[in-house]
Subunit: 355 residues, 2 copies
Amino acid sequence: MSYKAISDIGEFGLIDRLSKLVEPTLSEVPSLLKGIGDDCAVWRLSETSLQVATTDLLAEQVHFDLLTTPLGHLGSKCISVNVSDICAMNALPDYALVSLAIPNPFPVEMIEELYRGMSHAASGYGLAIAGGDTSASRSGLVITISMTGRTTPERLCMRSGAQPGDLVCVTGTLGGSAAGLKVLMREKNIMIDHISSNEPYSRDLMADLQEYGEAIRHHLLPAARLDTVRFFHENGITPSAMIDVSDGIGSDLRHLCSSSGTGATIYESRIPINPKAREIAEELQEDVITWALAGGEDYELLFTLPQELAGSIDGNRDISVIGEITEKETGILLTDMYGMTVSLGDLGGFDHFRR
Amino acid sequence: MSYKAISDIGEFGLIDRLSKLVEPTLSEVPSLLKGIGDDCAVWRLSETSLQVATTDLLAEQVHFDLLTTPLGHLGSKCISVNVSDICAMNALPDYALVSLAIPNPFPVEMIEELYRGMSHAASGYGLAIAGGDTSASRSGLVITISMTGRTTPERLCMRSGAQPGDLVCVTGTLGGSAAGLKVLMREKNIMIDHISSNEPYSRDLMADLQEYGEAIRHHLLPAARLDTVRFFHENGITPSAMIDVSDGIGSDLRHLCSSSGTGATIYESRIPINPKAREIAEELQEDVITWALAGGEDYELLFTLPQELAGSIDGNRDISVIGEITEKETGILLTDMYGMTVSLGDLGGFDHFRR
């Protein structure tokens, strides 16, 4: 018998295979509307009420580095990335459960700091942390959050509802999180160089990082766009499809189009680049468009809207229309500043098992 | 600033501290009936319907050893331990989400085997695996399952409802899981001795373990007592308090009594010792009562029942009455075979951070 490495099929190939294995469990549950394959699972609670549920696991050295991540920030981020998945369904968060695997020399006060960050973020989102599980870990810190939320059949947005002609929209700005991560990584390397050369680490990290504060905040303390979901609800707007920007809009737009069976064209000139990310990219001589398309972790909302609803978002300065949905055959394209068109099909997003 | 090690306050001391930190998040959610401190969190979905939710994290080298645990069995066990928490609320399981942190050299086929075990167990419980998250791990395999279930206000059992005079009951037999684990650990040590002495490992493990099969199955493939919950529902029985036996009945009875504000007396002669565990304990010259009281992982249900309902369980041969609830001041006592009474207060249960 020969074995296949996960890196051969990638994260999304693995998810496809695992989906098939759990299919038999779904047959007895008629209230399930969506299982694996969207930001949340969705099931019916009653005629007028749907429940959505999501889970995210964050592992030390894979998702975060304790050298550059204050624990309070990490706690807040763990909550926000799950709320972001709830938001992507056009739903509001209700309850969270928190599972921790804790390396044994970890002091109580550090776990409390992590929880203070989670609790503060949860309060801001109107979310209750209702339970959890704590365990020892023989290796790094692992944090798993699972979360439920609520919406209605009329408001529910899935990845699969986009139609050719719909506008492609995104909230906020992109690339900020990638820029913040680059600055933190540079600082970490300087720190390690100092330590390995036995020189004292004399830089005042905080003072030095002040000018990069906004980008670092985007990376360490992303906020879920619950404000956008509330704006949709207050104005009776239901996007035709939605996904949160966790892997980078290149990859996330591919997921949305693949679920909807469409193509899309977006315009480089309309992508809302984070201004601080642009400055940092110039300083580091890196390509800010790549950060915006493939950097990931911006936790903005990418959604599509029928053309006739274009007027409904006019008043919201925080939403940019960056392109339109096309027929599947057209593919997923980026038109650059010079009017040249390139395929976004090959541009990587984040894949845990391919890096 | 001085730091406190988690081992100084133990798992339950840590949970107490973390509960206080999440309290502020609960104030805006009037539908929450129970947060941290029971087998599940509980909230109201409607007048007549409650939702319960639980999460369990299993980490390699802490909860399982891949040398002695087939992955299909492990998948099944992960589902069962969560269903067991749902059962402890007198509820039925609905949906599960599965988060995996996978070490990179792990082949796809092994993850599929794990999922096959989960899927098979879920189908048996009428549970749908509705979603999840997969990620790389820089260290061992970590599996987190979260699960929701449903019950009614009339049926809900919490740890806190026991009253002096109630009967203390337990399902099935105890000590089987601890016995199975001892046999597997012995086998593993023999294997390691052979390998380190460069001798070929010639024992036919499976043939050799046949006679211990039942105990090993108790450890590797525990079944949640959904059958008992269905028996309660069909016969209109609602225990006054319930908990699942995950840490050993010594420790789990303490949790139940502490939540209910009572004491309890149980009788050694009435504890349903697993017959195979008794044989193995004799062979290994260990104390089978300690396995039953503190071995853990039997995943039976420990519950209390008002005296007047004693007749309602008469027909169920799988339920043993092992003692009664007393006033708090009496403490938690075990009366042994010779009529001597010892306190169960000091007998350890499983604590991740104290071992």
